[in-house]
Amino acid sequence: MARIGVFVCQCGNNIASTVDTQKVAEEMKKIPGVVYTQDYKFMCSAVGQELLKKVVKEHRLDGIVVAACSPHMHEKTFRKACEAAGLNPYRCEIANIREQCSWVHHDKTKKTGTLKSTDLTRMTIERLKKNKPLKTINIPLKKKALVIGGGIAGIQAALDIAESGYEVILVEKEPSIGGHMAQLSETFPTMDCSQCILTPKMVELSMHEKVRLLTYSEVEKVEGYIGNFRVQIRKKAKSVIEDLCTGCGECIEKCPFKADSEFEVMKGHKRKVIYVPFPQAVPNIPVIDREHCPKFLKDKCGICAKVCGPKAIDYSQQDEIITEEVGAIVVATGYDLMPVESFGEYGYGRIKDVVSGLYFERLASASGPTGGEIRRPSDGKVPETVVFIQCVGSRDPKRGVPYCSKICCMYSAKHTMLYKHKVHHGQAYVFYMDIRSGGKRYDEFVRRAIEEEGAVYLRGRVSSVYERDGKVIVEGADTLSGTQVEIEADMVVLATAIVPRKGAKELAQRLGISYDTYGFYNESHPKLRPVETNTAGIFLAGTCQGPMDIPDSVAQGSAAASKVISLFSREDLVREPILAEVDERVCNACWDCYYACPYSAIEQHPLKGRDGSIVRWVARVNEGACQGCGVCVAACRSKAIDLKGYTDEQVYAAINALV
């Protein structure tokens, strides 16, 4: 027979004013297995806890029910006190007679409150009788992190983790790290040059002894769980032996073939077939673009191998699969720009002088195709009138995306300034819907563009863009003056919407993290857990989560890193033991649990006979991945799975005690 003690808390008058706590305590004494009951003024006080400990020892209790406030308030307090008294903490349960009884039933005769408290406490006692002692679980932890994506968010995260002494692997799809930030000219609101602040970080990262940089590589497969991920990375063949290459650039110079440059955004800008994406690339090791290289297409040329001094060119190089074990993953895969050819009214793709914002960045960049001079693509003339159109695809639920891309207001203002600084007599127009410039020194920046740099802001949408006599005509509405306007421009710049990276959903499926309808990765809680995913051990940084600017991305990179660091600062992982458990004798391997589990925590496990052959399969719970939701339990037809701490037995005991 159980030896249960029941404490009914008065909570000063909070409970006692509508519940006769003494009567509740007396009623509980009648229940078989209850050997001690008492009501007390403040159970959570130090004195109350001491009383609890003393009673546990004196009466050799094997279970405690505290009828008091919500378990969300003091369950931990009382379980700790029990533990201190030598009782398993999971043999302590709380009956919520304050938030869910005394505070919501204001009957001053105490009749209602007393009756309900008696019921609630009785249900809890019966439940407690079925509670098994549980032990927290310790899981070993691999203190090495993987960062996916080498843009500014990934770089920041990797650097922070490495700085605190843990090893980091950074995987980048492109031949160089740097991401979109490397393409930008100057950054708002300080107008410092993007590459000047980025490249030192890129170099620092590549030189860091704790960092292993895998460029031109992609994550192929992720298995395991927090603390113990197994990751397969495909290192694509660069056709250049990294250890031998000195980065002299001779091969690039001598290569006679060209292909479109991804880095320079617009078609027509070429790079060599053996290339680094941009001059400051890290690592400064070229790769051969096999899709365009005649050596691979028809076994001709081979000049790069001939001119390479250290003999680093290797045409026979194969993709390499690397397997790594890591304890935590930071996802920082960044964004793409929405293709805007489908917005026919803006003429992108049809009219040469209609360009994207990112292309304008390259035009304005000192290292860009024009050396920083603003020249329009069609004929190389300096444009004297430029129209910037904001919200191209953003905030357009019908044809684009309903969300705000967040950075366009700021960078369009920046573009007007960059333009004005380079073309003094030029005139910039901006069509906008609203100006969203929330952020430190952001609104001042936009005001400066308008008031000091003379950009004309027109609140309204553009209805059509077409060519006439070498000009680009922009027709639109100015809703503030209520008129239609027609602007004869030389160039039009579209602030296109930010969308998730191509392949974002596939990567999310590989990682087992969730994403929204667009493909942006979901944070665990939009306010309180902004860089965690619902999969323990996987964190987010930067625009893979949603549109954000450079300061936000960097802050997120650091935040994700700090989560990884705090995870690694422990000896091993300690987990609450509220976990699913399979009774292998009953499991018939229907796999309903396997498909129901949101965390992929159910594993298919073979049971082997003496001769080593597989006798049958059973489900097994991965304790590292299980979060204790219990979906599998309700899904199991054969009742082979149960959830520790919320077993069927416990729930039925509570239901049985209803009357």
């Binding site: 919500s70 378990p71 969300h72 919520n96 304050r98 938030e99 869910q100 009884c101 505070w103 919501v104 039933h105 204001h106 009957d107 209602t112 409150g113 009756l115 309900k116 019921d119 609630l120 249900m123 969730s514 619902n534 509220i578 129901a596 949101p598 965390y599 979060q627 204790g628 939701c629 219990g630 979906v631 339990v633 309700a634 899904a635 959830l643 919320y646 069927d648 729930v651 039925y652 509570a654 239901i655 049985n656 209803l658 009357v659």
Partner: protein, 142 residues
């Protein structure tokens, strides 16, 4: 309660993260609602086995309420969707078995919806009251 005549008995199966916290908030806000409800806390509505509901009826409940996080807000990503799917089928089954659907209720109450919780409980109790005591079911299981 006996003096005042019959009052219905409701069992509410709620998830730990949203509805339980919402019910706590109703308390913290000192809202008042009918006392005939008994809450059973589970980690997630996805944990709720339909047999819990059958058992509750058998043990004297006149009505049952299941409530969890709003769609998309589940602490465990998708547990409430499992609950919803299961519920739709189970409800049809109850209907087929001839059980008065005024006795079974499903809702989403978030951790901030104390007012919704109060109104929901009062409403559920009223609806169940209109259905009367569930003697018919209990007689099946003497």
């Amino acid at each position: 309660m006996e003096e005042k005549g019959w009052e219905p008995r409701i069992v509410a199966f709620v998830c730990n993260w949203c509805t339980y916290a919402g019910a706590d908030l109703a308390g913290t806000s000192r809202l008042e609602y009918r006392p005939e409800v008994r809450i059973i806390k589970l980690p997630c509505t996805g944990r709720i086995d339909p047999l819990f509901i059958i058992k509750a009826f058998e043990k004297g409940a006149d009505g049952v309420l299941v409530s969890g996080c709003h769609p998309g807000d589940c602490h465990y990503t998708s547990g409430n969707y499992h609950a919803r799917r299961r519920w739709i089928v189970f409800r049809e089954l109850l209907k087929f078995a001839g059980i008065d659907l005024r006795r079974v209720h499903f809702s989403w109450v978030s951790a901030s919806e104390a007012l919704k919780w109060r109104d929901l409980i009062n409403e559920v109790i009223e609806t169940v009251r209109s259905a009367g005591p569930f003697e018919a079911y209990r007689r099946l299981n003497p």
